[in-house]
């Protein structure tokens, strides 16, 4: 039976081997089989030809095997620490977004065309390795470069983040439908950023509970380091309503984090 490799990249990072294909692995991670686990799950499918000196992969063909009752091995954890920085982005395939009740949507990496007016303020949700929410005057690609720059006092070797909706009304308040915790603080951070053009990033929350997370995604997801950036475009509202209706219905109705 084929062994798949997945990298979990939301709330904690982990490299996992599994005999389940992505569409089954998502529901398994979101809801388990018999346990009442909850919450959205994001994971990358890793090229099965994965070879690494960092991860212990040699034993996997012997340990990731069917159960005695014939059912597939659902998860075999390989590593739960500093996974993202040790995986070559070229090996990272589709990104799977799983809702709290196990609906799975796969996104292919695509070319990111930075819009002319892409500079801030932007609201970014870092997803891996840390998970703070920040506002920034930088465009997504500039933010990627900034955050993975080793000369920067606060940097990470590689980053995975999402670009979030940040609609504001004439008075500068956040649009009513955005479910951010403490929306006034988001606005305060934006104002601080606007008042100080030299400041490029402002932390909004160190660890965010993103209620209805998928409902807040704007352009999509970014995976990058100093060598480049992969972009996973979030479907348009039109496509979400029609092509991906069951997933979107589940994602937009869910109140899970």
């Amino acid at each position: 039976m084929t062994i798949h490799y997945y990298m979990l990249c939301y709330r904690f990072e982990a490299l996992v081997a599994s005999q389940l294909p992505p569409d089954d692995f998502g529901p398994y991670m979101a809801v388990g089989t018999r346990k009442n686990t909850q919450g959205n799950t994001l994971f990358f499918e890793i090229d099965p030809s994965l070879h690494s000196t960092y991860f212990r992969l040699n034993d996997i063909p012997n340990t990731c095997v069917r159960h005695p009752d014939g059912s597939p091995k659902r998860s075999k954890y390989i590593s739960t620490y500093r996974v993202l920085e040790h995986l070559d982005p070229a090996l990272m395939g589709k990104l799977y977004l799983t809702t709290a009740d196990g609906r799975v949507l796969g996104l292919e990496a695509s070319q990111y065309g930075e819009p002319q007016n892409g500079s801030g303020p932007n609201l970014f949700q870092e997803l891996c390795p840390g998970s703070p929410m920040v506002v920034s005057n930088l465009t997504p690609s500039a933010f990627n470069t900034y955050m993975t720059d080793p000369n920067n006092p606060v940097s990470v070797p590689r980053i995975f983040f999402a670009d979030l909706l940040l609609e504001r009304d004439a008075a500068g308040h956040l649009a009513g439908y955005l479910p951010y915790e403490n929306p006034e603080h988001v606005v305060e951070c934006i104002r601080e950023l606007e008042a100080n053009p030299r400041k490029q990033v402002k932390n909004v929350a160190r660890a965010t509970h993103l209620h209805s997370f998928f409902r807040t995604v704007r352009r999509g997801f970014f995976l990058g380091d100093q060598n480049g950036m992969k972009f996973y475009k979030f479907p348009s509202k039109e496509d979400l309503d029609v092509k991906y209706h069951p997933w979107w219905h589940s994602a937009s109705e869910s109140i899970a984090t």
């Binding site: 529901p27 009740d101 009513g176 955005l178 409902r215 937009s252 869910s254």
Partner: protein, 854 residues
């Protein structure tokens, strides 16, 4: 044995059983005249004397009825039948509409089967009870006119059957209409909206038609002595409405709460997700609660208001006082036929224009009705000297100098003309509009109360609850002010006349209020139809296929269904105020009948009562009398106990559903969506628990007036009714409006304020909605029929209460004090035991509930 059991459980056997009961009911009714005409052994000289005076179909043989009146009564019958034919025509239109895809049909079928199973089970459970009560009504008859013994019992059967028919047909149509509305939404907004509204109109016209038909036929058979039969007719409808309201309320909220607890909270899956085993039960619940329950409820209001008006009409203005309410109702049916047909929408309309069309229909109906009242009044309400000579009590309804002394606004300068009944009908129309507006103000998202609740959600769960209580409490005061104002206006219209005439004015306001019952029910039933259609669209539409056939069609169809759902929520909420208001008006009118019966000592002598007798007895129902005060206190407490029972019942039923859903979710194939859940299991659980749970509150409603009456006497029973009407009305309005406001505050946030769905404010709003749900959909609406059932039971048992109460019994000729006391005590003990059992039953802990933590 097993084969026999299987046969009994089979669908066919159930059908045969239902048909059998129907035949029994029908036969019982049509048999009644022969029972009445059968020569009875004369128990006393008085009885013989009355038998000689009573004649069946007196309006056609009694010379005091003019030919015009006889033709009018026939015209009313024709109008009632026309209303039913109109309903039939609309039903055919609904059934002829497109039924969508196979998947949609499967979902609709599951909902329909669940709804049928529910009503079938309810019929099985309450059918024997109805037969028992029929026999009891016949056996316990204390009047002297034997013709009324089976007239009362037979009319009870017919009232119950009509009420059940309205509920059943309303629900059946709704479960057929929902599918067709979902299918029509893929083509045109107007078509979908019109189908949904017409589905509701079928039930509305059925209510109109059957209510008018029943009241008119009873009057034709029994004439001015129809009091007993009318009471039986009203009681039958009311009792069924109570059971439908209670059972439907428990079902709908248990299914809703159970589905949400497991689906949304535990599993975090959206509403209407087909993997949730409670989804179909939830949709079934919308039909049994909002269609069957509400239709039966308004039908009984329709019945009871006409019963009250006819009874008081007889006791005041004689047969003109009886025929006029029937004529008004006839005009109302015509108004509803014309106005409901004008409700239409264009292919690209929106919820605003659709709502405008529904409201325009209501206004057109109102104008037709009001013009009709006055034209009819001007032609018919003429009181010449001969009529006043034949009906001497009627003279007391005019100023000292007679009809000629009426002010200009009451007779337009025409001697003998009395337009006051038409004016009080107009007050009723204004009352309906006032209550509509008030309910809308306190529960609609565009007004300050709901906005304040949504804002309160930003500071937490508790502040939302606190604000909701404040809004609900305030709304009760506003409603009381509107109802009291309308009663006051009726008092002013009849200034200078005895209270009984004022009560007739109030009853006529009730008639005016429910004139447009056809429109009201159309608006109400449209709500669950649109709601279900939205659910069918959610579960049954194939987005990719629809987009392939016509780009943009799926989104458009979903938008249409969402818009219709929003319109339905608004129209449904608007009608709730009318249901509660009509209960109070009817109860106030019946209260006067109650005093009248005490005054003359027996129901069949009510048309012999003098004004002095009435005033003397009314004066004895005073809180200065400790027993009356005790009755008043107990009456005020009963709606609370009743509500407590219902809310506990919802919680208990929800436990069962949660347990079943959890078991089904453990099946990985169901969870993955590759296997269909066993929806039928949850539907069965809801059906059985709802049936089981309705017995306790039903017993409380029937037994508590008996307990008070036999234990504390008739005046205490009067106090009991007064306390119950006041507190019941306040509690019902509070629960309906607070619950509606919490619900809409949540919707307001979900539509995109204070963070929208998933925000902290939304969580607080969900808490408020959860608290409000059993209040607004179970306990609150059930108080309407409760008020009337208690009134009816009190009226029907009053003869026995007067005779056998242990405080001041009127010992019957040939009876002894000891035997009277023993009979009284037996009733008291039986009633107390039944109430104690009901309370115990409502508090019991179930093993299922205990096992949930495992």
């Amino acid at each position: 044995m097993h084969k026999l059991k299987a046969l009994l459980k089979s669908h066919k056997a159930r059908q045969y059983y239902l048909v059998g009961l129907l035949v029994f009911f029908g036969a019982g009714y049509f048999w009644t005249p022969s029972f009445g005409q059968a020569p009875e052994p004369a128990a006393s000289a008085t009885v013989t004397e009355h038998v000689e005076h009573f004649v069946f179909f007196s309006p056609f043989v009694n010379p005091s009825y003019s030919v015009a009146e006889q033709y009018s009564l026939i015209a009313i019958l024709i109008i009632a039948v026309a209303g039913l034919l109109y309903a039939l025509m609309l039903a055919k239109q609904v059934y002829a509409a497109d039924t969508g895809t196979k998947k949609m049909q499967e979902i609709a079928l599951a909902i329909r089967e669940g709804a049928d199973a529910y009503l079938g089970a309810q019929f099985k459970r309450i059918g024997p009870l109805i037969i028992l009560i029929t026999i009891l009504l016949a056996v316990t008859f204390t009047g002297t006119e034997e013709a009324f013994r089976w007239g009362r019992a037979g009319s009870f059967l017919v009232g119950a059957l009509f009420s059940w028919t309205v509920g059943f047909v309303g629900m059946r149509l709704a479960t057929a209409g929902n599918l067709r509305v979902a299918a029509a939404a893929t083509r045109s907004y107007g078509e979908a909206m019109q189908l949904g509204y017409r589905t509701g109109t079928v039930t509305g016209m059925l209510t109109d038609g059957l209510g008018l038909l029943g009241g008119t036929i009873i009057f034709l058979i029994f004439g001015v002595q129809a009091y007993e039969a009318l009471l039986g007719f009203g009681f039958g409808g009311t009792l069924i409405a109570l059971f439908m309201r209670v059972g439907g309320g428990i079902y709908t909220k248990a299914a809703d709460v159970g589905a949400d607890l497991v689906g949304k909270i535990e599993k975090d899956i959206p509403e209407d997700d087909p993997r949730n085993a409670a989804t179909i039960a939830d949709n079934v619940g919308d039909n049994v609660g909002d269609c069957a329950g509400m239709s039966a409820d308004i039908f009984e209001s329709y019945e009871v208001t006409i019963v009250a008006a006819m009874i008081l009409g007889m006791a005041t203005f004689g047969h003109k006082g009886v025929i006029f309410p029937l004529l008004v109702r006839g005009i109302g049916v015509l108004g509803s036929i014309i106005s409901t047909y004008t409700v239409k929408a264009g292919p690209n309309d929106t919820s605003d224009t659709a709502l405008h069309s529904v409201h325009r229909g209501f206004w057109i109906g109102s104008i037709i009705s009001v013009v009709g009242f006055f034209v009819l009044g001007a032609l018919y309400l003429r009181f010449d000297p001969q009529y006043l000579l034949d009906n001497p009590v009627a003279l007391a309804g005019f100023p000292a100098a007679g009809p000629g002394a009426l002010p200009f606004w009451a007779n337009l300068g025409v001697i003998g003309l009395d337009l006051r009944p038409a004016i009080t009908c107009l007050i009723g129309v204004f009352l309906a509009i006032g209550l509509n507006k008030l309910t809308s103000y306190y529960t609609h998202t565009m007004h300050a109360p709901v906005k304040s609740l949504a804002k309160a959600c930003t500071t937490g769960h508790a502040t939302n609850i606190i604000q909701g209580f404040a809004v609900g409490y305030e709304s009760t005061v506003a409603t009381i002010v509107v109802i009291a104002t309308s009663i006051l206006l009726s008092v002013l219209v009849y200034t200078g006349t005895p209270p009984l005439f004022i009560a007739y004015g109030v009853a006529m306001a009730g008639i005016g209020m429910l004139t447009l019952t056809g429109n009201t029910i159309s608006m109400d039933v449209f709500g669950p139809v649109a709601d279900n259609a939205n659910g069918i669209g959610e579960m049954g539409y194939d987005p990719e296929e629809m987009e392939r056939q016509k780009p943009g069609n799926y989104k458009r169809a979903r938008q249409i269904l969402a818009d219709l759902d929003a319109v339905g929520n608004t129209t449904k909420a608007e009608t709730k105020g009318i249901a509660i208001g009509s209960a109070v008006i009817a109860a106030v009118s019946l209260f006067s009948s109650f005093i009248a019966v005490i005054a003359v000592g027996s129901e069949d002598k009510i048309n012999t009562m003098t004004i002095d007798q009435y005033l003397r007895e009314a004066g004895k129902i005073t809180v200065a009398d400790p027993t009356v005060f005790i009755g008043f206190l107990i009456g005020g407490a009963v709606p609370f106990l009743f509500s407590s029972m219902l809310i506990r019942a919802v919680g208990r039923a929800a436990f069962y559903i949660v347990k079943e859903c959890r078991i089904q979710f453990r099946d990985i194939e169901i969870w993955e969506g590759t296997k269909k859940p066993d929806y039928g299991r949850v539907v069965d659980i809801c059906t059985n628990t709802a049936q089981k749970e309705l017995i306790g509150p039903g017993l409380l409603a029937i037994m508590s007036p008996l307990l008070v009456g036999f234990l504390l006497g008739p005046y205490a029973l009067g106090g009991f009714l007064a306390g119950m009407i006041l507190v019941g009305q306040l509690l019902a309005v509070f629960m309906s409006n607070a619950g509606g406001a919490w619900d809409n505050a949540k919707k307001m946030i979900e539509d995109g304020i204070y963070g929208g769905k998933g925000s902290e404010a939304h969580k607080a709003a969900v808490t408020g909605d959860t608290v409000g749900d059993p209040l607004k959909d179970t306990a609150g609406p059930a108080i309407n029929p409760l008020i009337k059932v208690m009134n009816m039971v009190s009226l029907l048992a009053l003869g026995l209460v007067l005779q056998y109460n242990i405080i001041s019994p009127k010992i019957a000729e040939g009876g002894s004090a000891a035997s009277t006391f023993v009979i009284g005590m037996i009733v008291i003990l039986a009633a107390a035991a039944a109430i104690a059992w009901a309370v115990w039953q409502s508090k019991r802990d179930d093993a299922v509930a205990d096992s949930l933590g495992e």
